[in-house]
Structure formats: C-alpha cells, structure tokens
Subunit: 287 residues, 2 copies
C-alpha cells in the first residue's frame, strides 16, 4: 500500500465505524462498530486483493444458494472457523450445568414427540443403542418436564435431512418423567465427515483440513426457569476426539458406550439381542 | 467471562488458527488464519451471546435467500460495512490511472453491445443525457478497443434488475474507437436509496443509518495489457456527496453535468431539445 492509499483506507475505516454513531441500540452499535473494525483490520492485514474479495463474495453467494430450511451452511462455516465453539465457550457459566457445545447445522425445529422407551431410529442403518439419561439440577434434584431434543447421523454418517425426500430418522423430542428420566432406542453414532458437497467442504479441501467429526449424539435440553443446554455425548475411544473439524469436544461429554450381550429373558425383543447401552446424567442450572 | 471460559476460548482460537497449518497455498493460509483470528477477536471483544450469534446466522441466511443471479446482497453488505470501498483503497496504485470505486451489487455480466452514439436508456424514465468520454494511457495516448461497461439507475433510483421481469435498461457495453472515444445517450442519474427490501436495508434501519447514495453512473473499463478501472462518475452538487451510504465518493470522480439547451440545427433529434451533457477523460495504466 502507498502512503496515500493507506491514509484513504484509514479514512474509510473511520467513516464506516462512525456510520453507526446514531444507532439507538447501544448494544447493536457496539457490535456493528466492533465487527466493522475487525473486518477492516483483516482486509488491511492481508492486503485483500479485488480478486480475493470477489472470491469471498462468490463463496458467500454459494453458501446462501446451498442453504435451505433443512440445511444451514452458514452454521457449518461458523463451526469450521471455530466461531460456534468459541461462542459457546464465551457464554459458559461457572456453575455445575452440563457443558454445552456446538448446535451444528442439522437441528430441526418441531421434531416428532416420542414416549420414553420409544425407538427413534425409524429404519436408519446402525447398531441398536439404548440411551438412558437423567436430568437434575445443581442440588441433584430430578427435573421433570424437560423438553429433550435428540438427533444423530446414521451408520453412513448422514443425517436424515441430508437425504433427498422428507423422511426423518434418528431424531425426536422427549419429556423427562417425574424422576427426570428420558430413555429411547437410537443407533450407535459413528465418526463422519461434515458435508462435503458445499462451500464448507470446499474450504476444508482447499486448506487440506480434516473433515471428520468424532462420533456423537446431539442433545438440546430446555425448560422454563433453567438455562438451556445444547450439547453432544461423544463416544469414548473415538480416534477423532481431539481433532474434531468443528472444535466441539469437551472431556466431560465423552461417554462409554457399553456393548451389551442380549438378555434372553428380557420382555422387549431388542433387549434380547446384542446392542449398545449408554447412561448419562445431565445437570441444568436454574436462572 | 470466567477465567475458565476465557482460557477455553483462547484454546479454541488457537486450535482454529492452527487448523490451517497444512494449507498448501501459503496465501490462502495467511488469509484464513487472519480471518479466523479477527473473527474470534470480534466475538470475544463484544462477548457475543448465543442469541446474537444466531441472529447473525439468520441474517446471513436471509441475505442468501434474497440474492440471485440479478441481485448480490452480499456485495451490498460489503458495501454498507465499507469493506468494498476499503478493498478498492487497499489496491489503489500510485499511478495516473482514473481512481476506482465500488462495483456495487447491480453489475451484470455480458451486457448488450452498442455502437457509439447509441441510446442505452431503452425507455427508462429520466432526463436525456449525452455522455462522451475519452480513454487514454498515462502518456495521453488514446486507447482504442477498450470494453466499456456502463450501467445506471432510472429517475426513480432503481436499476433494471431491481424490477420484476427481464427487461434491461440504461445498461450497455461499448468499444472505444480509434481516438479512444465512447459516446452514448443515457439518462441523468439521481441520488437514490440502496435496496431496502432485504437484510442490507434492515441493517440500515436498525442502526439509523442513511440509505442514500449520491447520483452516479457506473463504468467498468477493461483491455488486455491495462489495469481494469471500475468506477463511477458522480454528479457535482449532489447533496449526498460526502455521506454516501457505501463510502464510494472520490473528489476526482465528481463531474459537471451541463444543461444544454436544444440546438435546432442539429441533425439528431435528441440534440434539438433540452438535455444534459457530460464529458470526462479516463486514464488507464499499463500493466
């Protein structure tokens, strides 16, 4: 940059930041000024060329184009740049609540409600896994009536919404019972690559980054009066733990998925054959 | 932020930046590491909440949704945040070439080619304006065969592509003649608001920012062997000069649009009636 172009760049940055001076919301003013400042710092630091700027615009246009009600590629980008995980860390409280991690791009509002003990796999390929969780507050008291959203990929590493058609699988909503318990049949999660058919995958390929996420099941727990918990349970022993493409692992969220040999005397057919079992206690903090 | 959450945030930032360590392209590595660093700096500086992060994702999703082959809302956002104008300033060279400014969201590839002297307005409302330009190199030598793209809004402040339907107006491509000249009939540009029906307009309203751009005609000049010039000519005296919503003004690009009373003896009918005239010399730098 020449001196003249540097001083013009400086002037443009100042004008762009000052353009938010009249914003009525102080919080929005703070956010927009900081965003503008850091965006400009980035462009100046790398001396962004016109071609690179245009490539960035094209990348965002492609991200918008592949996104839909069932696929949020902007969340994937946020995940891949570590922004989602950072945002979770920034908002972590110093309490006993279960740690949160990234929401991911495949959460769907209004999932089907199941009764405890139901099988949510809906025909998805994968090894049968019985999940039982309990939810309590910081004092250990069971919390009933918690809405628990659960979603996960199939044995091929794809979520229902990644397939053509409208069939949903391995996704559901439960309510915790009087003992704070939720239980259901799902399938054993496997490590899988993040979607590679869009700009997110293109970014990973162009930068020689791993596209793998360690195996996990998604949970979102919500009840009025308690802080929401959006998290995963990871499978202990997964080779991708510690190098999650979206930086989502937390030690406290790694669980043992036990292999259970069938119990021939069990009343439920599924329990009679070999399957996996997992048990986990979630803690929610009152607000 | 608690100490623990601060140290976790720090770790996530480091991991996200380090994830680009294996990028084969050194330039792309530099860009992605800087982008990640500054994006994280922003989120930490404002302690971005989960709701604010989700609002940002929703905003980008809406930006993608309203964008199309004929409308690039991401360019508008880049314009409104001053990034487009900054990028132009960063890439400005210390030579005699005509100053550049923002491309804007309404450039269309492959515009119709016209002969010199043609009327490109195609029925668009506005006061008839005769534009004549000459293109020369730094030594003052005329440059022939320069492809000159021209586009502008109508008297209501809208570009052709902002209307429903496929009709294009006030847009065309010319080739400079042996004397480096291009001339055409267009319409007098007026100050206009940037599009208000999408996320860009929403951002301006939410932050009480002006949505006005001073009147201008867009030009893009290209010829092999010369550095491209993407610029505007602004109308001298426009009240919005100095407070352009996209920070695009340059003193050297402000031109006098003269009112010409009709010349009854002229051979061309348009010249016989009252109209505006503008003359400008563009300079292109050899590369």
């Amino acid at each position: 940059m020449t001196d003249e172009s540097r001083s013009r760049a400086q002037e443009i940055t100042q004008r762009a930041i000052a353009s938010f001076d009249d914003c009525a919301s102080e919080r929005l003013m703070t956010i927009m000024k900081s965003l503008t400042y850091h965006l400009h710092q980035f462009a100046k630091e790398v001396s962004l060329t016109t071609e690179e700027w245009m490539a960035g615009i094209d990348f965002l246009m492609a991200t918008g184009k592949i996104s839909s009600d069932k696929r949020n590629e902007f969340i994937l980008l946020s995940d891949l740049l570590g922004l989602s995980s950072l945002q979770v860390a920034i908002n972590e409280r110093a309490d006993e609540a279960t740690e949160s991690t990234v929401l991911g791009p495949f959460f769907v509002e209004g999932a089907k409600v199941f009764q405890n003990g139901a099988d949510i796999s809906n025909g998805a390929q994968g090894e049968a896994t019985y999940v039982s969780i309990t939810i309590s507050d910081s004092a250990g008291e069971a919390i009933s009536g918690v809405a628990v959203d659960v979603w996960g990929a199939d044995a091929d590493g794809f979520y229902d919404v990644q397939y053509k058609g409208d069939k949903l699988f391995n996704r559901g909503r439960f309510l915790s019972d009087d003992e704070g318990k939720v239980s259901f049949w799902s399938i054993l999660p496997v490590a899988y690559p993040v979607p590679s058919d869009g700009p997110g995958g293109e970014l990973l390929r162009a930068t020689s980054r791993s596209n793998m996420r360690p195996a996990h099941i998604h949970f979102a727990l919500a009840k009025e009066g308690f802080r929401q918990v959006v998290t995963h349970l990871f499978v202990d022993g997964d080779p991708y733990l510690g190098r999650d493409a979206v930086f989502g692992e937390r030690d406290s969220l790694v669980c043992k998925f036990h292999r259970a040999s069938g119990d021939e005397t069990a009343t439920e057919a599924k329990l009679q054959t070999s399957h996996y079992e997992i048990q986990h206690n979630f803690t929610m903090a009152r607000i």
